[in-house]
Symmetry: C2
Subunit: 347 residues, 2 copies
């Protein structure tokens, strides 16, 4: 029989103890970071660059379910979704702050797990954790991450620059995270009705990795930079391709056509899509959480990206009298609609 | 009889509708702000300056109680506590981001109230709201604010620069916010036991304003700048004077002596302190939420600040073999202890 490791309740550690505990694992990596954790604020320097800032808050029970989300993955993902927004500006992330609210049900060991994911993301993307806040909550966990990045003046890419005839591109493939999430939700229900049944997750590594440990496409930003391509508009895909395309069309005052047979969908999602009766195309259009980049480029730049495996051209921008349409493999064009947003839960 | 105004549930507005609703009230004021709300990230430029960043998360039921906190005041305070951290770096705040999680019990009109306070703070302190996140929560409200400021290279002031014989200064007066909070808590209990009893808040404007609508001491940072004084260390007083002084002593590796009869306490707190049997000195040392600045200056700078009404010299720094002591009006020196931290509530 193995002895159960003794866990440390947060009430024994206290706020200042927790901050010391967290900050001793932090090593600063960027020259732009002058002063990190431990003062009223962090200090940064940007010389000739401009900087971008973005923030996202994740709430237990709304954005994540600890029943099937390992804390390490949660920490990693909380950082990555913010870095994805920085890359979507054509910028390079340099620093993050992390604020964490948690109830007394969490132990120091649980917080260490969460931060091990945060540190892993900082390592993978070469960003510095420079500050934050730790506090108690009445119930559950909330994580708020702010990311700061650098961009050369004039090179930030907005959502409002797409022009008629520009090519619409996406990185990677779409829809897998949504199918992964549906699988996790299904197995959770099975477990709740009979805790002795083991979850059936085998053979679904790709879709599970896409929902639990997404990556931000800094490699695509680097690729575009190395080819001398500045997209005319760009954003990351967190709410689903349809919803994001409509943002670009609205802000750029244009329409678009995308082609069903061009939308990149990984074959790995097909068995589970079929088993769960979800059309892969619907998952790709409306699923969300892919954290791929959606961007438009001038046709003149097509040759520079056409041979790259990470980028797919899925359609083109049309003028502002048109709407946004999907051209299916057969039959009539279908107008794209925004995904329904999450309703605010009554208490 | 007046007709009751129809309120709008957030579920009718949706996330994107809410973001549009919020951003249409925002006007950018700073040259350093290139792009505000409406993209993946905001874009800023700092030219020859360095920048500072700080973040704080406020949780309903832990940091604020909506039973006695007007939403407008809450929005104002959520911004001000972050600006206070920026000033405590000897920096000037320029931008904020605001993330808000709220349950369906809140209406659009309630969110407007909250944001009216946020906008009022942006106006009062000349900062730009450049981004954020709005999301639903399972229960209650959480607000996470990140503030960014500018500072000339070499002029950021940390907690670790205090030297033996430096003078310890505080701005304004201390302890009133704590007494105000105790009054609000008392009246809440009275109300809960008999909702027909009206709260007795009259004649307590000062202490109530200190807890409900604190201000950040940018005027003191400006004053020090105009006199050519760079403090050797500085931080803001959010957890109470004792706790903050111990942070400076720990990081600067020094001790200190402060004098009871020098600690600035406003006469306005005395009647209620007496009624509630709380020593004003204890409120000043351990109460917290004053958002005044605590800083140390070289003795050579004393003449530059001695005539200013907003600054009081309360003691001096000693070498690192000493501890931190309060010298009372009579009797033996008392060692300062850190205020107990908030226990993490078990779920």
């Amino acid at each position: 029989m193995t002895e159960r490791k003794k866990l440390t309740p947060l009430s024994e550690v206290g706020e200042f103890g927790l901050i010391d505990h967290i900050s001793k694992h932090v090593k600063l990596k960027n020259n732009e970071t002058i002063k990190g954790i431990g003062d009223d604020a962090a200090v940064m320097s940007y010389g000739e660059n401009q900087m971008v800032v973005t923030t996202d808050m994740l709430i237990e029970g709304v954005h994540f379910d600890l029943m099937y989300t390992p804390l390490k993955h949660l920490g990693y993902k909380a950082v990555v979704v913010n870095l994805s927004d920085v890359f979507a500006m054509n910028a390079v992330p340099k620093q993050i702050t992390v604020s964490l609210a948690m109830s007394g049900k969490f132990t120091l060991e649980a917080i260490d797990e969460l931060y091990s994911g945060i540190y892993a993301a900082c390592e993978a993307y070469n960003v510095d954790l420079v500050g934050g806040d730790t506090t108690s909550s009445v119930t559950g966990m909330a994580i708020s991450v702010t990311a700061i990045g650098a961009v050369e003046p004039g090179k930030a890419v907005y959502r409002n620059g797409a022009k008629a005839n520009d090519l619409i591109c996406v990185s990677g493939d779409l829809g897998a995270a949504y199918i992964g999430l549906q699988l996790l939700e299904r197995e959770k229900e099975v477990f709740k009705s009979n805790p002795n049944v083991q979850p059936e997750l085998e053979g679904n590594d790709y879709i599970l990795q896409r929902i639990l440990k997404p990556e931000a496409r800094g490699d695509v930003v680097e690729l575009l930079g190395s080819k001398g391509v500045i997209p005319t508009s760009m954003m990351d895909i967190s709410d689903g391709l349809s919803s994001e395309l409509l943002h670009i069309c609205k802000q750029s005052e244009c329409g678009c056509r995308i082609y069903e047979d061009k939308i990149p969908i990984n074959d790995a999602i097909k068995p589970m899509s079929k088993e769960m009766n979800i059309e892969p195309l619907v998952a790709a259009l409306n699923g969300g959480e892919d954290y791929e980049l959606l961007f438009t480029i001038s046709q003149a730049d097509y040759d520079k990206i056409k041979d790259n495996q990470s980028v797919t051209v899925i359609g083109h921008i049309t003028d502002k009298t048109s709407n946004a349409f999907l051209v299916p493999k057969s039959g009539e064009e279908i107008q794209l609609v925004a995904q329904g947003w999450t309703a605010y839960n009554p208490d």
